[in-house]
Symmetry: D2
Subunit: 341 residues, 4 copies
């Protein structure tokens, strides 16, 4: 049975496991203050070309989103996000649980536009009754998006400029950031991304780690009380080493970037193969998630040999399905999948 259900099917990169084993008996202090967390921070600062960046390690993506958003917003502020954003649709109201509203913007292929952000901000500040509206206090985007698409440098620069104009932070959910950076269509380096945003996170869970996300406050701008916020929201791991060692490994010798390439190369191979066979794509994704529209009967048959993601109903007789590659996907599996399709 082939499995392209998600990009978190396997454990961790072998070097991570090796380092967990190698350091296992060291007695280390807790809560992210150990030497491996420190090393990881320095390496991420270097990779971002931001020596002043503040970095925190968290177990999972939903927790990271809820933590960053709740710690940066005042009580009456909300966060602007695409109507298809992960926080909008797939986190069981984790943001609202912290008391904040997700303010939705229209999307195209998973992306919001600087124009729409600006219009929202203008409308808010022009509204004589704005005390009765949730104040837009932050912009959230995903890179790549939930549909595998990526923001160009121009698009990010434009959104960033609007955020600067209205003095609100720009937050990038990088659960799959490695796959955006490795995409042949990408024109934004990690350092440029760090310049353009106020806070982002580098996803580990979907890119080589057992678990873990690295939050980067890019400009010496950690919100006051952030560590207490972490503890209060249940996001402060006692054995911070578990996250530190993994990110230290991932940011040694460009491992994070190297393994991301594997996902992209194989996604490109799959995409080319599916195109050649005449499959219809739901949208054009340059990263590790590929969405095709399949006739339902064909889909049912495919299920017998391949695990994949059901995305959404397309019409009465067709469904959008997703194939995800990852750092761990093997070329032979792609070839086998193409042979089946």
């Amino acid at each position: 049975m082939l499995n392209f259900e998600s990009d978190y099917l396997e454990g961790a990169h072998e070097k991570i496991l090796a380092n967990l084993v190698a350091t296992n008996e060291e007695k280390l202090t807790g809560y992210g203050n150990d030497i491996y967390c420190q090393n990881a921070r320095q390496k991420i600062q270097a990779a971002c070309e931001k020596p002043d960046a503040h970095i925190y390690f968290i177990s999972g993506g939903t927790q990271t989103n809820a933590l960053v958003i709740a710690s940066m917003l005042n009580k009456t502020e909300g966060v602007l996000a695409a109507e298809t954003g992960h926080i909008t649709t797939h986190e069981t109201g984790a943001i609202e649980f912290t008391g904040h509203k997700v303010l939705t913007l229209p999307q195209k292929v998973g992306k919001i536009s600087a124009t729409d952000v600006k219009q929202y901000m203008k409308n808010y500040w022009n509204d004589g009754n704005r005390d009765f509206a949730v104040q837009p206090g932050m912009v959230y985007i995903s890179q790549p998006t939930e549909y595998g698409t990526i923001y160009s440098k121009k698009e990010l620069t434009d959104i960033s400029a609007v955020c600067d104009e209205y003095k609100i932070p720009l937050f990038v959910d990088g659960a799959r950031l490695g796959y955006a950076l490795a995409s042949s269509e990408n024109d934004v380096t990690l350092a440029e991304l760090a310049d353009l945003v106020d806070v982002f996170y580098i996803g580990g869970t979907k890119v080589g780690a057992l678990l873990g996300e690295a939050i980067v406050f890019t400009k010496n701008n950690t919100p006051a009380h952030f560590v207490p916020n972490m503890k209060q929201q249940g996001a402060l791991l006692a054995k911070g080493r578990v996250l530190g060692i993994q990110f230290d490994t991932l940011f040694t010798d460009n491992l994070y970037f190297e393994i991301s390439k594997n996902a992209i190369e194989l996604a490109d191979l799959l995409k080319a193969g599916l195109k050649e066979k005449g499959y219809q794509f739901y949208l054009d994704s340059p990263t590790n998630q590929q969405f095709i529209i399949l006739e339902n009967k064909k889909m049912e048959k495919l299920k017998e040999q391949v695990a994949f993601g059901f995305w959404e109903i397309f019409d009465d007789s067709h469904t959008v399905i997703r194939f995800a590659t990852s750092w761990a996907t093997k070329r032979a599996d792609i070839e086998a999948l193409l042979a089946i399709m």
Copy 2:
């Protein structure tokens, strides 16, 4: 200066003030347990033809919405509402402050449809990943809507049937309920409304009272812990008499219904007059709020003589403005307004 800015410009109906004065020296127990609250409850039960209804009196509408919704939902449930619903747009995230997401549905002239509610419920329950989505646990509608439109008996019956099918409560925000009931286009009696919904509130603030809303749980169905919920959300008034005396008065000799008629008669007069003069309406409202599209220069000039509500920008050179009548509006004022326009 004429003033049609809102329907809460004046104090209270003179009978209410008279009764506040007449009972002022009586020593009454607090927190809604006094004889006037009891009388008011009985009269509202009778008006709704629901002897088992449970009734609670609250100071204001936003508080009422936050209280009803938070007390009826589990932590991972949200409330379905129109994208133009009051809780969606004009309450500074009061629902999210209690931890719950407002799940939005498209609207036409301020109304949602049973079809859209049903589709949302179906999608949720068909979603294999629904544990990651906020569960729709309640439907919220306003009667009349924020645009002055009203749900017909057929529309309400259809929405009610979907709610029954999915076993979720239907909640009606009746901040202006009197004006819906008095509308010539209305075909739903108060008793029928009470039959069709699980909980609604009868607005006093905008219909004759100094302040106050009466929550009606129609079917012996007050949620557990409701009075503690009221206290916890700051909604339990020490001198409950202030609300009890007012609703006792409003539901004596049909006062609530009688004074609502005044608003409608004068709104109809205004509407006819404006139509005759060729003004363009933003939509067709059968209640006390009338929305017209005005050329901006004309609007500026009108401001010198009349206070009104700015609703929204229509296009570069036009604005939607609102005239609101109320139980207290005088015929002479309508005539004066029409003379000016």
Copy 3:
């Protein structure tokens, strides 16, 4: 039947009702922006000798406490209060509902001490693990306390100095503030109180109003977003006039202070009479609440003729009961009560 159950048994002072009637037909703008709210603010500023004070009117005490505390604290901060404080024990967790912990301090006759506040602050800031503790971000006291006792100028000055030292606001719950100010034992003027604290509220519900509390930010120090906070927590009344007219009346010609004196004079009369008759007091209260320890059988008999408050069980055969006087209490009632006892 005599009734000394609470200090919110009657409606409002007759001048308040007269002014509500006199202004009833005026068309006034909403949400606290009307002329009566403005007048009331100026008169309260004058009474406090604080021309820069910011003043907001709220419906009830629990709502006021939850609003002030939630709007002034960061998410990981809590509020220090007596273990017998109203927010600690009698508001159904309204503060926790907003996400904040009430950090309790020991009390004597309802009061906390500057020494205990200072020790708490020192311990917190000396704690190497303080990121895992709730940060004490505010001090809450009641004047008079829930036991009728009052803080002296010395005591308030000392607590205020600790708050200044640690840069945290001091908040005074003045639900019965008039009765503290009118007490013969009081040595703190309203202006001195305003000097010593950062925010307090002047209770109307228990001192002459139908409902209403006036929040005073004493030093041009309203927290950012306060009006949105009010709306979000359901505390912004549409017809702000209802509160404005009442406080305008209460602060005209010293009415608030004059009517408070009545409660104190009659409480003093009652206290003297009960002492003379040999009743045992639970504690020595210089304000309008008097607590005595009564043998249970005697209490049962008393119930037949007098309504009073059950406070707490004293021992197997005795109970602490409370008699409350108010602005509206009549001398004849005190005499009748003393005749019965």
Copy 4:
């Protein structure tokens, strides 16, 4: 430098690492639905002799406490806990962040008594004004406690009986449960514990795992919506395997119990050695945490050679310090420590 600072200094038991490595390339489904989570559940059910128990795996203790408590309480309920309970003092208000109050009870050597729980419940239900109090809706205890002490079977049975009488769940925080079970003073088996409580968690982070806690709902009694609650509170790990594999390992061949014994044997050795040397204990702990009272100068000197936990100030010249042993502590380290002391 010797290190007895905490019981989470090392990584994980070698068998856990070996199994993580061995299973690393298997493609497994996410969110706790993989085969290793299933195996771990069955083994824990067997160890608890509760085939109907429901088991969920979570990353950390604070998150677990906040999740269990928030998912089991209604909005106006709070949780009873010792004034020294972990949720009371060391979780930065994580429980209050979810809207719930921690209601504190007095403690002796870290434990609460059935008598005090019963008195609290009685007082609440006898209180005529209980709508204004937070309803005690759950009891939280730690086994062992934050002071290393353990509840006897009799004590647990008594508390359990009060909870049954008042129909509220009993929740046991077992962050160090292995160390209680391994104590020579312990008289409660895991199966008996599971009988007596409604929900508890088996700590992994401090007992052999890299991270992870296993929540056990003992009686087919998972609260409705629990998985959505997990997601909403950021507690649902994508790669659930990371937790499943670890608990599968810990509950194979009694590993969890065996490694716990090491901590206790070495703590007993340390305790005996310190007693022999005449050190004064802060209290008598039968588990892996040992608290002694040290003269401050001596403490400063000790710091040069040994890392330990500062617990609290004892008096002007003495401090309470903690030595913690764990599953990974070596006999040679205890001997070295005793040689130094």
